[in-house]
Symmetry: C2
Subunit: 254 residues, 2 copies
DNA sequence: TTGAGTCTGTCCACTTGTGCACACAAGGGA
DNA sequence: TCCCTTGTGTGCACAAGTGGACAGACTCAA
């Protein structure tokens, strides 16, 4: 993205996760010995409800995780997406508590991982590390609050457009989202046939095209017009809360 | 509730808030010099979006706070209720960040208050204090996650019943909830006429009665049957996460 | 190349919830 | 006491979303 000519900086050698990349060099040095990076495939479960939370997962590059709330019907409802802008697992709980939600890899790819205990130890040693993780936790909270309101009052059409935009922003893939209608419907908590119809109406307006198992985006602006403003509200909070605390200039995916 | 015969214990002299009451005596001693208790009336705004978060408010007794997410229409949508089981303001952000939501006193009453900075200082000095607040933050998070899912898939009837039960549990008032139909509709993010109709259907089944400006509960079990299970799921998480970390036996309001 | 399994587009009857309208009831202040 | 404001109950036309069904299309594996 903003690769500079000349020697690779220390920051650029870190995993492609904004949270990790924007730690100061001293702070990252506290974590580095404990960080591992490994791929996870789409569908893999990082946590199930009740699991002990022991590892923080940082999505890197195009990978994407999602928080699912199990339902009495056995249908999981998706709540928020987390990509390279953040991390999942113990961000708020600080670890060693039973997970409340299921956390699932939505789009596969690399994840940086670190034991919660190591992260907490580093946070105790560094005020700036505490600060940045508290700020991110606050942003994550804002994201969930916004989702709660969004689910209460916005139409399925708006939420569908919002979801596709959010996924694109996080993965960096500007043209397609690998998702069946069934999956889309399930994660929005709506009926499949209605989700299909919404996609059809977008297709009729040349906003997107459908392929078996994926959605091709033709007009990002068209999607923006159809989406509610929830993404933007959250993104503004990210920018406001994290502005200035990161040493580099890389943009946030809200 | 469980007042014991004999001398008043140190815990019972604290503000009637579960989070404060279940700190160890040593931990509470760190906070005590900075705690003030003052009444707030229903409708008072504790925070508006963008406000610097500097004070933690602990609802005591029957008082109740609520997180509202502003909407493009100017209508606020209610997300979660917080009563004597918890606190609002800086629980996750740890203070000095712009508030994302509006926080409003729903039912008036006493609130214990402490500066975030004082609380954070105490947390740095006491691991058990950190632990208990991280645990509560995790519970609050669970509550919001559940609300997000609930708004996605449960009917207005279920959510209405759930809301009334949640309010009753937190205030301790087993028989009535001071709320107009309009207020109920707004906080659920639904139309007023439909909210009225739901209340009428409950009335027809002798689950409740309506008075001008308040709802009288006649059958708590009837409400439970009509409500979704979201309250219970969250309550279980509260019990699991906070079990054992409190010295006293007082029950949680989930 | 042919299935088998999955995904997609569409139909239909039905339920849930909206938004507006209007008559009436309750209750506090002058 | 009466008025005026606010809250309540209900009717209606309509929009949004459900859930089941089914035919056809795509694709992978044998």
């Amino acid at each position: 993205m903003d690769a500079r000519i000349g020697k690779v900086t220390e920051v650029e050698s870190r995993p492609a996760n904004n949270l990790l990349r924007r730690l100061s060099q001293a702070d990252y040095a506290l974590l580095a010995p404990h960080v591992t990076v490994e791929d996870s495939a789409a569908g893999q479960l990082l946590y199930n409800p009740g699991d002990d939370v022991q590892v923080v997962h940082f999505p890197c590059g195009p990978s994407l995780a999602t928080f699912l709330v199990p339902n009495e019907d056995g249908r999981d409802v998706e709540t928020i997406l987390v990509g390279r802008e953040g991390a999942v697992g113990g961000i708020v709980s600080e670890g060693f508590l039973p997970a409340y939600t299921r956390i699932c890899v939505k789009f596969g790819g690399p994840f940086a991982r670190i034991h919660v205990a190591k992260l907490e130890a580093a946070k105790l040693r560094s005020a700036s590390m505490r600060n940045i993780f508290a700020r991110y936790a606050d942003c994550m909270l804002a994201q969930i609050f916004q989702s709660t309101a969004c689910n209460a009052i916005h139409s399925i059409e708006q939420r569908t457009a919002k979801w596709i935009l959010a996924a694109m922003e996080r993965t960096g893939d500007e043209s397609s989202v690998p998702l069946t209608h069934e999956q889309l419907a399930t994660l929005l908590g709506v009926g499949r046939s209605y989700a299909s119809r919404v996609l059809q109406s977008f297709k009729a307006e040349r906003i997107l095209d459908t392929r078996r198992g994926s959605i091709l985006v033709r007009s990002r602006d068209g999607l923006r017009q159809r989406a509610c403003l929830c993404n933007d509200a959250v993104k503004m909070h990210f920018e406001e809360v994290l502005r200035g605390v990161y040493p580099t200039e890389e943009r946030e995916a809200g």
